[in-house]
Every structure is written in C-alpha cells, then in structure tokens.
C-alpha cells in the first residue's frame, strides 16, 4: 500500500437485514485530496463514511485508513481521523468551551494544547461568539463551525465531513467550503459528502452514489468531458411555442433531451437533425450553447431525485 493513499475501500458491502445500504463498492482516496460523495438521501453515503470511521462494522469487504485495517486497528484509526456527523453531535446544554474541552479530553489532549488548538481553530473558522455561550443558543451554521472545530481539535490528517453544510445558510456554506479548501491546502485529506452540485464541483474527485453503488468516479472535469462529448444546448421555449414543442423536441432525433426547469438541455448528437428541427420551429425557442455541469452528469447517470 503506497503511503499517499489515505483511504482504500475494497468490495465494501453493508447490509441491514435484506437491505444493502452499500453494495460492493471499491474506491481509493489519495492523501491530500478533497474527495466528494455526491448522492441523494439514502444513496449510502453516510453508511459508507461511518464504516470507514469505524462506527459501523461492514458486512463484507476491507477498509484501510492510512494503511491500517479498520477491522483490526479500530482505536488507532479513531485517533487518526476526524469525523463530523451530519447530525448535530455537540451537547446543547454545555458551553462551546466545555464541548471543545470534552472532545479534547476524550482524545487525551493536555489542557494547554486544547486551549492553543481551539484558539487556532476559532481563528481559522472565524468563530467570534463568547466561548461561554451555551451551544443551544447558537444558530445552525455556527453550531456546525463549533462541531468542525471539535472534530479538527486533535489535528487529524484525514477528515470526514458528512454533509457538513446541510441546513445552513448559503453564506455559511460558502465559508465552510473555504475552510475545506484551506484544510486541503494544508495537506489534509478531506472526505466530504454532499447533495449540493455546486459543492461537488469543488472537490478534487467526486463519486456519484446511487442506491449503494458508485455510478461514476472521477474529477468533475473528466466526468463532464466523458459524459458530454457532444455540444450541450439550453433550449428556452418562447411564448409562441406550440403545445407539442417538448414532445417534438424529444422526437426530433437530434439527441437526448432533459427537462431543466422550464427549459431543456439538449445533447446535440446529430447536427443535421438538429438543424432541421431548428428550421421547422424557427421563432418558437431560443438556444444557447452551455458547458455541462455536474448536475447534467448526475441527471444523465443517476437520473432524477438528487439535489
């Protein structure tokens, strides 16, 4: 196992009774990268991440984290990694300081180190509330910042963030991703799950999850390039469009059409047929060549239901 592999998962299956939450998946996360799990709720993202952090025993398969087998070296792995759950895990009736001190004490950090680290992390996250505030009095985004500090306290080399931005404001979301990039720049491996496409775009590599399986795994650029070799057009029907416009577009043979809000995204696989359709329906729509997004990739590979 090479030293620059942070997480290696081989044929991982996690079943709850007859239901397979994770179904025979294999992948590898390199040290220092931002690795994203993109998928709908129930796609198996959280289950997989919990198994990697040793919070769940897999039904089958092998997981190594920093070269250590999770099944054999559970406690060592728990010391090595930082984990932030999608659920809110701090104690609401304790203050920020008490929560942080508790997290540090569980990791046997000396009080002086906890103090120094928390100062550093609060500066890093921009947390500016008094540390004697009870956690229950903080807003969702701020709570997540404190939770992030708690999971980064022991300076882990590999950080697992399970939907860290679920339910927080767009401004907090942007700030959070800034932090994730800084962590990565500092050499940390960040494993993050999300169901936001724009967040997935910021990952080094993304694994598209669908019902416990990996539908695709690559860099966002490669995913787009590989899945959209043809030009992509955004078609906006004008008010003059006839009622059969959508059906006619789909039947034109120009290429696959996917509804996109009130508009349509068309992959132009046959330029001749597209020119023919454009001529027939002139004046009924406007078109714009666009670059594919991860959402296009996701809809193409996984289908609706995400985001």
């Amino acid at each position: 196992m090479s030293a620059d592999v942070a997480v290696n998962v081989e044929n991982l299956t996690i079943a709850f009774g007859a239901f397979k939450a994770v179904d025979d998946i294999s992948f590898c996360v390199e040290a220092g990268e931002i690795f994203g799990f993109l998928g709908a709720n129930g796609a198996g993202k959280t289950t997989c991440i919990r198994a990697i952090c040793g919070l769940l025993s897999p039904t089958a398969g092998k997981i190594t984290v920093a070269g250590r087998n999770v099944a054999d070296d559970l406690m060592a792995i728990k010391t090595l990694v930082g984990y932030m759950s999608q659920r809110f895990t701090l104690y609401p009736d304790l203050t920020v300081r008490e929560n942080i001190a508790f997290a540090g004490a569980l990791r046997k950090m000396p009080a002086r180190r906890i103090l120094a680290r928390s100062k550093e992390l609060f500066r890093f996250t921009g947390f500016s509330y008094p540390q004697d505030t009870l956690v229950q009095n903080l807003s969702g985004g701020v709570k997540q910042e404190v939770a992030l500090c708690a999971s980064l306290l022991h300076d882990p080399a590999i950080i697992f963030l399970d939907e860290p931005t679920a339910g927080v404001s767009p401004a907090s979301r942007a700030r959070f991703w800034n932090l994730i990039k800084q962590l990565s720049a500092a050499g940390k491996t960040v494993f993050v799950t999300t169901h936001y496409m724009d967040e997935a775009e910021q990952c080094g590599r993304v694994s598209l999850m669908q019902t416990g399986r990996i539908a695709a795994l690559d860099t966002p650029q490669n995913l787009k390039a590989a899945n959209f070799p043809h030009p992509l057009y955004e078609i906006s029907p004008s008010p003059a469009a006839e009622s059969d416009f959508a059906a006619a577009l789909a039947a034109s043979g120009a290429g696959p059409v996917r509804p996109w809000g009130l508009r349509y995204h068309l992959e132009e696989q046959n330029a001749d047929l597209w020119r023919k359709f454009s001529a027939e329906r002139a004046g009924q729509f406007s078109q714009r060549r666009i670059a594919p997004t991860l959402e296009d990739v996701f809809l193409k590979l996984v289908g609706g239901g995400a985001a």
């Binding site: 709850f16 939450a21 959280t46 289950t47 919990r50 952090c53 040793g54 919070l55 769940l56 025993s57 406690m75 728990k78 010391t79 990694v81 984990y83 759950s85 659920r87 809110f88 895990t89 701090l90 104690y91 609401p92 009736d93 304790l94 008490e98 508790f102 997290a103 004490a105 569980l106 990791r107 046997k108 939770a147 708690a150 999971s151």
Partner: protein, 371 residues
C-alpha cells in the same frame, strides 16, 4: 482491559455539568428522597394507640370492672362504657368504635368458682391492619388478666411472654424509615441513570463520542461516578432525617451501613445504565426503569410484604433483585446492629449483582451506529 481513567473522568465531569444545568435531575436526586421519607414517615403510621373500645358490662362485679381495666391499663385502649340496651354491633356499624368488649353475666362468679369467665371482643374486620394490631395487643392483655385472676398460678403450664427485641417500642417508623432507604435508592438510582445513555443516542452526541477512541467501560464508569455522588447525597439526607426528625435509633456500625449503601447505590445505577444501554430511547428507558425500579423496590424487597411469606417462586426470584438484599442489610444494621459477618450473605449477593449488571452494561454497549 484497556481503561483510561482520564477519559472516564472527562465523561464524569461532563455528566456533572449536565446535572448542574438540569434542575429536574437535581430535584429528583435530592428532593425525591426527602419527599418519600416525609410521606412515609408521617402518613403511614402502623402504631395504634388510643383505640376507642366500647364496653358493655353485663356482670357489674368488681372482677368484671377489673377485667375491663386491664384493657385500659395496657395503654392501647380508651374505654367507653355503655348501657346494655344497645346492640353491641351497632357501634361497629356506625364506626363509632374500633371494638366492642362485652363482659357476660356471671363473669365474676365463674372466675371466683375457678371456672372460665366469659367475655366477648367484637372487632371490625374491615379494617384489616388495625384488627391485626389489636389482636396482637390482645394476647398480652389476656396474659395479664390470667395472671391477675388465677388464684394459684398453674405451675407447670408454660407462660409465654412476648418481648419485642430490637424495636422494643414496636414503632412502625423505626421499622419503615430504615427500609425506606431501600425503596428510595432502588427507585432513584435506576431513574437517574436510565436516561443518560439513551439521551446520547437520541441527540446524536453518541456519534461524536464513538468517533473518539473512548471505550464502553470508560463511558459506563464515567457515567456512574457523578450519579453515585448524587444518590449518596440523597441517601445521607434520608439518614439524617430518619435520625433527627423521626428519632430512629441506629444500633449498627456506620462503616457497615455506608459500605452496603455504596454497593447498593452502584447496583441501582448500574441497572439504570444497563436499561439505557439496551433501550437507546429515552421513552422506553423511562418505562423500563419505572417498572424495574419501582416494583422490586416496593413489592419484592420485603418493604410491604415479607419475603419469607411470598410464594416459593417469588422467594427465589427476589434473589436476583438488589433491593431485597439491601432491605435485609438496612433493617439488620439499623435495628439489630448487625456487622459484616452477619451480613456476609446479602453483601456478597449485592456485589455479585453489581458485577453482573456492570459487565452486561459494558458488553451490551453498542459501538455500532445504525441508521
């Protein structure tokens, strides 16, 4: 077994903060014991003195009056003579008397001639507990009367004189208050810890806890410690109130008593923790702890029904319940002054129960998080 005391202490400190910020837990830990003690101490009084006894003397002799006087001189009865026209039972019907004593005609004459004098005592059987007490007084009174009237005491007939040891005053408070410690700890201990692990599962903090290298034994130990202190404080309060407010004598060794208390408190807390570990839901844990805390402590500990008179099954079943053993210790130490030697059996039973409960709580502690 890897055990890190620093981690257990960190958990204990965190629990102390939870307790201090949760007025309900504090009230439960300190208020409930006192409330129960005062309720049981003042309201339940199984001593009956000054029992109204109507006397219908049909004999009107010196001996019949003397016989009636043995009742009043026992200190338990207050005599109220009434005329022979009224049917004796009507006094009981109207609940104007707890008992009616009818001394038959020729009572004095029969006694003088060496025969048996006839008298009748009517008691209200509906008030079971009172009647039972009166009957026990009656034995003593008859004893006194026989000695008084017998011209020549039958030398060979054995004379039974009941003397109550250890609780000479037969004070029900002396009996109930030490036993109440069992009920209070048995109920309180289970209730206090039953929420603690389930709460962590419900509010998600268990996920943070388990993502660190903390071990179940450290969590269990860390959670036991502060609640032990809280329960012990509650128990000391009960002890002080029993001694100062109710004047219950303490004949035993304090070392024995507090050692046993500590062991029993730990058993009750461990029972609550086990429930919490297994239930993982606060509501279920609450129900389980009420049932498994309240019923054994009240009904199967010997507090209300003596273990010796239970059906065979329950006599053995109570052996796996800690309250039964501590009841034995508590009454033994308080009133009889029993020491470690006399209490070896209940003490080792408690220790065994402790070991089993704590081991189970640690073993059943799930470190897997299911969705």
């Amino acid at each position: 077994m890897n055990f890190n005391a620093a981690r257990a202490l960190a958990i204990a400190l965190k629990e102390v903060r939870h307790i201090l910020r949760d007025p309900f837990t504090l009230a439960l830990g300190l208020g409930l014991p006192l409330l129960l003690l005062l309720m049981f101490g003042f309201i339940i009084d199984l001593n009956y003195g000054d029992i109204g006894l109507k006397v219908q003397d049909q004999d009107h002799t010196r001996l019949s009056r003397e016989f009636a006087r043995t009742f009043s001189s026992s200190g338990y009865f207050r005599l109220e003579p009434f005329s022979s026209e009224i049917a004796p039972v009507s006094w009981l019907d109207s609940e104007k008397a707890s008992g009616v004593l009818v001394i038959k005609e020729n009572f004095g004459r029969h006694i003088k001639s060496g025969r048996q004098g006839e008298a009748q005592l009517l008691l209200d059987g509906a008030d079971n507990s009172k009647t039972g007490v009166v009957l026990s007084y009656l034995a003593g009174i008859m004893d006194a009367a026989n000695r008084k009237f017998a011209q020549t005491p039958p030398r060979n007939s054995p004379e039974i004189r009941t003397r109550f040891l250890f609780n000479q005053e037969l004070s029900s408070r002396w009996f109930i208050v030490p036993a109440l410690a069992t009920v209070i700890i048995g109920l309180l201990g289970v209730l206090l810890t039953a929420m603690t692990v389930a709460r962590e599962w419900e509010n998600g903090s268990m996920e943070l806890l388990l993502s660190t290298p903390v071990r179940p034994l450290e969590i269990v130990a860390g959670k036991l410690l502060p609640y032990f202190a809280l329960s012990l404080t509650g128990t000391v309060t009960v002890y002080l109130a029993a001694r100062l407010v109710f004047g219950v004598p303490f004949n035993g060794s304090r070392i024995v008593y507090w050692t046993a208390c500590s062991v029993f408190i730990t058993a009750a807390l461990a029972q609550g923790l086990l429930i919490s570990v297994v239930a993982r839901q606060q509501r279920l844990a609450m129900q389980l702890s009420m049932i498994s805390g309240l019923l054994p402590a009240f009904l199967l500990s010997g507090f209300i029904f003596p273990v010796e008179s239970m059906p065979v099954f329950f006599r053995y079943f109570t052996m796996i319940l800690s309250p039964r053993w501590f009841m034995e210790i508590s009454r033994g130490v308080f009133l009889k002054g029993a020491g470690f030697m006399e209490l070896a059996r209940p003490l080792s039973a408690l220790l065994a129960i402790n070991t089993v409960l704590i081991t189970l709580a640690v073993k059943k502690f799930k470190t897997d998080i299911e969705p």
